[in-house]
């Protein structure tokens, strides 16, 4: 160990002192800055991931549509499913309808699905009732829609599709389709939960007069992250169809999440910057207090760069230890996040935001190594500068004058 590192450690953690105030306070300051940055980023990532997952579950990794309903969807599905990039392909049919229960009605986004598909994402969000009860006479509703219609499991709803208007034009009496509610789903996407209505694809085709056609296909890909490139490749040979990767489907929404994360990063970064400034000012006063020692080191033959290293390293050490402690603190806070949130809610009497607004059962998390890397790099850089500025000042002084300081 070079002597200046040894001395730097001793000056930061003086022997015989159980509580090295300067080091402790500075390291804690950095740790709090780093932790607040990383907690926010990790939770933001969590929300982002959760939303991305739900988008993918609702629309697949890639949505295939055309200017008109697809004529032979089963054949197309078979062809696309055979591609190596594609994990599975399923038919997609969706349209708005009026759902009614006596005096109560609402706009339903009805979707035709395959009730026997074990990978059907809606299975994961069943909130009441049973998904497997879905058959030609039954319907699954989003929880918000069910509430608007005042229906429970076992109650009946009427569905009026636009195709029925066609019937009326032709002079026939339009008859609504009747369903019994067999399950309620809650995805956490208000937009989905307030409108979703799932019925078997067979019934959907009947009610919408689709015949053998479907509105499109949803594809699951083996590499969802590469959806954009894969979509481009799949589109070759199908000029009449549109292949939209999931990243495009809710582009504005995803952009908004990313922007929010960036903004929060800058806000939180300012916190670490403030911590670094306080280190800088404390180190400055420490260096001034040690003026005579700087002179003594010069009289012992210490080079300028070694004096710079002595004080610069103290800033860097504080930064490094603070970053490590900050990582630890982040992990601790996030591990107990639900308890902490519960305590805050009971303290301030707020309702459970996560459940009520975001409708997630837990605060979602997603650890991203690059966040940790960026936080560490920024913190080390700023604390190193905070140590370097006073260090350069100290090393630039004449030893004869430094030693005259009280």
């Amino acid at each position: 160990m070079p002597w200046f590192l040894h001395l730097a450690l001793r000056q930061l953690f003086p022997p015989g002192k159980r509580f090295p105030a300067f080091a402790t306070v500075s390291i804690l300051g950095v740790a709090l800055g780093v932790a607040s940055l990383l907690v926010v980023q990790t939770v933001m990532n969590g929300f982002g991931e959760e939303h991305r997952l739900r988008i993918r579950e609702s629309f697949g990794d890639c949505l295939v549509t055309g200017p008109a309903p697809i004529e032979k969807p089963e054949a197309l599905a078979k062809e696309l499913a055979a591609r190596p990039e594609v994990a599975s392909a399923s038919l997609f049919a969706e349209g708005p309808a009026l759902a009614r229960n006596g005096d109560f009605s609402g706009i339903a986004q009805v979707r035709g699905i395959d009730p026997t598909d074990p990978g059907q994402p809606a299975r994961k969000y069943v909130y009441g009732g049973r998904f497997d009860d879905l058959d030609d006479g039954r319907i699954i509703l989003g929880v918000g829609l069910a509430r608007a219609l005042r229906v429970r499991i076992g109650d009946r709803v009427e569905v009026w599709s636009p195709a029925m208007a066609e019937r009326a034009e032709k002079g026939k009496a339009p008859l609504p389709a009747e369903f019994e509610v067999c399950a309620v789903i809650q995805t956490g996407f208000t937009e989905v939960d307030n409108a979703a209505a799932l019925i078997p694809l067979r019934r959907f085709r009947e009610i919408w007069n689709l015949g053998p056609r479907a509105h499109g296909l949803t594809l699951r890909l083996k590499e969802p992250a590469l959806a954009a490139a894969t979509a481009g490749r799949l589109a070759v040979g199908h000029p009449e169809l549109r292949f939209r990767p999931w990243q495009d489907i809710k582009k504005d929404f995803l952009e908004a999440i990313r922007f929010e994360k960036t903004m929060l990063f800058f806000l939180m970064f300012i916190i670490t910057l403030v911590a670094s400034f306080s280190i800088g000012s404390t180190l400055f006063s420490a260096v001034i207090r040690r003026s005579r020692e700087v002179g003594v080191l010069a009289s012992l033959g210490a080079a300028r760069w070694q004096v710079v290293a002595l004080f610069g390293l103290q800033g860097l050490l504080i930064g490094a230890l603070g970053t490590l402690l900050g990582f630890l603190l982040t992990w601790t806070i996030l591990s107990f996040r639900d308890g902490i949130l519960g305590a805050i809610n009971s303290l301030f009497g707020g309702g459970d935001m996560v459940a009520n607004v975001y409708q997630f059962s837990k605060v979602p998390l997603h650890y991203d190594a690059s966040d940790f890397f960026i936080a560490a790099a920024f913190t080390l850089l700023t604390t190193a500068i905070a140590g370097l500025v006073p260090a350069l000042w100290a090393a630039g002084r004449k030893p004869s004058e430094a030693m005259r300081d009280a």
Partner: protein
């Protein structure tokens, strides 16, 4: 004839002050030979500390030239002999408060490039020699003034310099301790074959040096 360890010619130094330039040293020349002791007396403010700083390379004179014998390098500018050719002893010891007695002495050797183990060995031997064998792990705050000055003397000697510059080494000590420190300083310096320039207010201590000077009016004259 013994080797010359310090050669200063025509040193001058003035400081800026609100009342204009304040000349402190006007024309100082001095030669010191290996193993010899030289004392410098002078009233407070006469420029003794300033002179030692010019001689030891802690400051640059306005005019004149200093050469110091650095082991293995011949006569060099004092700046480049710091820590090896010259050792300093200060009135208020100037020890590193966070380092033990042993580490304070070893630090000087480490700064001069010694390995950790050889620095510690040399430091231990010197501290035993100055009578602090039982205080190696003490922090300066836990040592008496006399003990601190013994540590400082050991530190000044650890790199085997050819010259020790001591600025009022007994100034903060009572008479008896001061006398002990003087005995020690003269003893170990002679023992190691180093030369000594001793700045002191005490006529009695000054008398113990082989050659004696008085600094007054910016010039050095034999006492």
């Amino acid at each position: 004839m013994p080797d010359i360890v310090l050669q200063a010619r025509g040193l001058a130094k003035a400081f800026a002050s609100p009342a204009g330039r304040l000349p402190v040293l006007t024309d100082v020349s001095l030669e010191v030979f290996a193993g010899e002791s030289v004392s410098i007396r002078g009233s407070s403010g006469s420029g003794k500390t300033t002179l030692l700083q010019q001689l030891g390379g802690l400051d640059q004179p306005d005019a004149g030239e200093v050469r110091i014998l650095a082991p293995g390098a011949g006569l060099v500018a004092p700046r480049s002999s710091l820590g090896r050719g010259v050792g300093f002893v200060f009135q208020n010891y100037q020890l590193m408060p966070e380092l033990t007695a042993l580490e304070n002495v070893a630090l000087a050797a480490r700064v001069a490039g010694a390995s950790a183990s050889s620095a510690t060995e040399a430091a231990r031997a010197l501290l035993v020699q100055v009578g602090l064998g039982a205080r190696l792990e003490h922090l300066p705050a836990k040592l008496s003034g006399g003990e601190c000055q013994r540590v400082a003397i050991a530190r000044a000697l650890v790199n085997r310099p050819s010259l020790i510059l001591a600025d009022e080494p007994t100034g903060n000590l009572d008479e008896r301790t001061g006398a002990e420190i003087m005995d020690l300083l003269l003893g170990v310096v002679a023992d190691r074959g180093a030369a000594l320039i001793l700045v002191t207010h005490s006529r009695e201590f000054a008398e113990r040096a082989a050659r004696r000077f008085v600094l007054s009016g910016g010039v050095l004259s034999p006492a």
